[in-house]
């Protein structure tokens, strides 16, 4: 395939990105997919409980976006974040162990699927109140400016979160104070069963940035290189000029809202889901790399085998990790355990 027939962003990214990284992104997408498929199985086997939201279909967003970061950059996400955590550098074993509620989990079994944290990797959660984490990301960006550090914060949330006050309050402050943060809306079209047309007065989510005189872009969230291209520019802008950006990545979730929700339910048709699955972001990217002569099917197969093996190993790690000891119940409520009252009630 000659690069001249490719869309600009693809040609640009293929030219600028080392081959190893292009392949690493494919591997991460495969790993994200396999990890979530096995997570669904583990949930069905009741090894995982609670609310559990899978990322299948949306992989291009987290992987394209996080591929632009330095290790000292931070991410703050909502609850559909298993893949974000792994791509930011969390070990798959401790992530799976967290889903299992085990001591070896990234959050010691206290957080679960919705609250993955890893300070060393710049993974700042994993938050369960829709939009509630957007001010937190604004705060880590405030700290970067305050401390004169040049790390950037990426903040991920769904399109339904743009209707909550915390989103608007955050964007206003980030624009007013010029904070190095990139807000990424993963517009998968639905907040649970409510289509965006039924929840937002404005269809083009990116337009909401106008209200705050903030830079914005809309990107095809099923195209990992497009996401990388757009987020890369926004991260540069944040790092160099401290200016925030709002990015709307249009994507689709192939599974139900959470494990307790059927794939299509009352709010979308089987046909619609099927049609979207034909735009699978992993298949598109794989075909693109094969077309560009960067990889062949055999090599893809090897990457997929590796992704499966790593996922198997993560499950083994989780199985082997003990349940948190009952003694840990009162740990980490405060930095220093306190006081006569709690001790007496224990």
């Amino acid at each position: 395939m000659s690069t001249s027939s490719l869309p600009d962003h693809v040609a640009r990214q293929l030219a600028a990105t080392p081959k190893a990284q292009l392949l690493e992104m494919l591997y991460q997408m495969l790993l994200g997919r396999r990890f979530e498929e096995r997570t669904a199985e583990m949930y069905a086997m009741q090894k995982i409980g609670g609310f559990c939201h899978l990322y299948i279909g949306q992989e291009a967003v987290a992987i394209g976006a996080i591929s632009t970061l330095r290790p000292d950059d931070l991410i703050v996400t909502a609850y559909r974040e298993h893949v974000h955590a792994i791509v930011k550098g969390c070990e798959p074993g401790p992530v799976m162990a967290e889903l299992f509620g085990r001591e070896g989990g990234v959050s010691k079994g206290k957080g679960g699927s919705m609250h993955l944290f890893d300070r060393r990797r710049g993974m700042l959660g994993g938050h369960g109140i829709v939009g509630g984490h957007i001010p937190l990301a604004t705060g880590t960006a405030f700290a970067a400016k305050y401390l004169k550090r040049d790390y950037v914060t990426l903040c991920f949330f769904g399109e339904a979160a743009v209707n909550i006050g915390a989103f608007h309050e955050s964007l206003n402050m980030a624009a007013l104070w010029k904070l190095p943060v990139v807000y990424i809306v993963e517009n998968n079209r639905f907040g649970m069963g409510t289509a965006i047309e039924r929840s937002s007065a404005i269809y083009d989510v990116a337009q909401r940035a106008c209200a705050y005189d903030m830079a914005s872009e809309t990107v095809d969230g099923m195209d990992v290189l497009a996401v990388r291209d757009v987020v890369g520019r926004a991260v540069d802008l944040a790092r160099r000029e401290g200016a925030p950006t709002l990015i709307e990545a249009r994507c689709y979730r192939f599974m139900g809202h959470s494990m307790s929700d059927p794939v299509h339910g009352h709010y979308r048709t089987k046909e619609e889901v099927q049609e979207q699955k034909e735009q699978d972001p992993i298949r598109s990217y794989m075909n693109l790399l094969i077309g560009a002569g960067l990889v062949d099917r055999q090599a893809v197969e090897a990457l997929d085998q590796k992704a499966r093996a790593v996922t198997d190993e993560a499950i083994r790690f989780a199985e082997a990790s003990p349940e948190p000891s009952p003694d840990s119940i009162f740990q980490d409520v405060y930095s220093v355990p306190y006081g006569p009252y709690t001790t007496r009630e224990q």
């Binding site: 990234v106 880590t140 405060y334």
Partner: protein
């Protein structure tokens, strides 16, 4: 020791901690250019500049969350609520964010933050501006709740709160800002979680905090004329509650009245009464009594407001009741 106002004591604490630690900053509405809605931050913008004395839009949920995020990234924010009434739009960030981050991250992210501002009723501010919300926050594991009654405690506790590695909810008394008292100079701290005997006595224990300590003192003065000796214990910190001095006092007096400005139902006083009956049951000669704000939204009319607020007269009636005097 200088005699200064509660307001100036808080100002000193802020100024000293801002000087001591560059990670400390103050953020809130009108804290800078305007010098503070209640002038607690007077002069701080001039000394520390707009990077550390940060005026915000009216966006409590937003800046409360910015504070929590900044704390995750290594800063030590002091977040001013113009009054605690407005914290209700920020409570998600305080309860779901600040209070739970350490726990749900498995110990990775402690949140060294202070949320502070005036609480309680002032004069005829009506329902939305006259609330004592201590019980709301004291209910939450992960938060510490402080409510000083004197200028010295205000200074010493605010300094401790700023140095604390966990979130502290700091209730100032809106009507106490102008009150005066002796405040030790220099680096004076009062530990969080230590009760204080504000008035020694022998016949009855009154537990009160923030501006209710003043009401208790007034009642105690009046009862002293009748030969009744009141001991006033000020917990100063409502969570963690240091109930040791309260129980020790009840063991001596055998009677206890808990006084609070807030609503009666599920109030902090209910918790204290439980702890007293649990910890000193055999020593009690009468059921623990409570005197609280009345169970209504605050009315505007002056006469009605006075009826809602706990008064020395109502406290005296309760004390006489536990002494079986009437």
């Amino acid at each position: 020791m200088a005699v200064i106002t509660y307001r100036d004591a808080l100002n000193q604490a802020l100024r000293e901690e801002l000087r001591r630690d560059p990670a400390v900053f103050l953020m809130g509405e009108e804290v800078g250019v305007y010098q503070g809605a209640y002038k607690v931050s007077k002069g701080l913008l001039q000394e520390f500049g707009p990077q550390r004395i940060v005026d915000t839009p009216i966006t409590e949920e937003g800046f409360a969350g910015v504070g929590v995020g900044a704390a995750m990234a290594g800063l030590r924010p002091v977040i001013e609520m113009m009054t605690w009434n407005f914290s209700l739009v920020a409570i998600d960030q305080i309860v779901n964010g600040a209070a739970k981050m350490l726990y749900m991250s498995g110990g990775q992210f402690n949140i060294p933050i202070v949320f502070r501002g005036p609480g309680g009723a002032a004069h005829q501010l009506a329902a939305q501006h006259s609330q004592s919300l201590e019980a709301w926050y004291a209910n939450v594991p992960g938060l510490k709740v402080v409510a000083p009654s004197t200028p010295a405690d205000a200074k010493g506790l605010l300094k401790s709160a700023i140095r604390d590695n966990d979130p502290v909810i700091f209730f100032e008394g809106e009507t106490l800002y102008g009150s005066k008292g002796e405040v030790p100079d220099g680096d004076y701290t009062v530990p969080i979680g230590v009760s204080d005997v504000k008035r020694p006595g022998t016949d009855v224990t009154v537990v009160a905090w923030s501006k209710m300590v003043g009401v208790a003192q007034k009642a105690a003065d009046m009862l002293a004329a009748d030969g009744i000796s009141v001991e006033i214990i000020d917990p100063r910190t409502l969570r963690p509650l240091d109930d040791g001095p309260i129980l020790a006092s009840v063991r001596k007096t055998n009677r206890c009245v808990v006084l609070e400005e807030g609503w009666p139902y599920a109030g902090v006083g209910a918790q204290i009464a439980y702890q007293v009956q649990h910890g000193a049951f055999g020593d009690l000669d009468a059921p623990v009594a409570r005197v609280t704000g009345l169970d209504v939204p605050m009315p505007y009319a002056k006469n009605l407001e006075l009826l809602v607020m706990p008064s020395a007269a109502r406290l005296i009636a309760a004390i006489r009741e536990v002494l079986y005097l009437d």
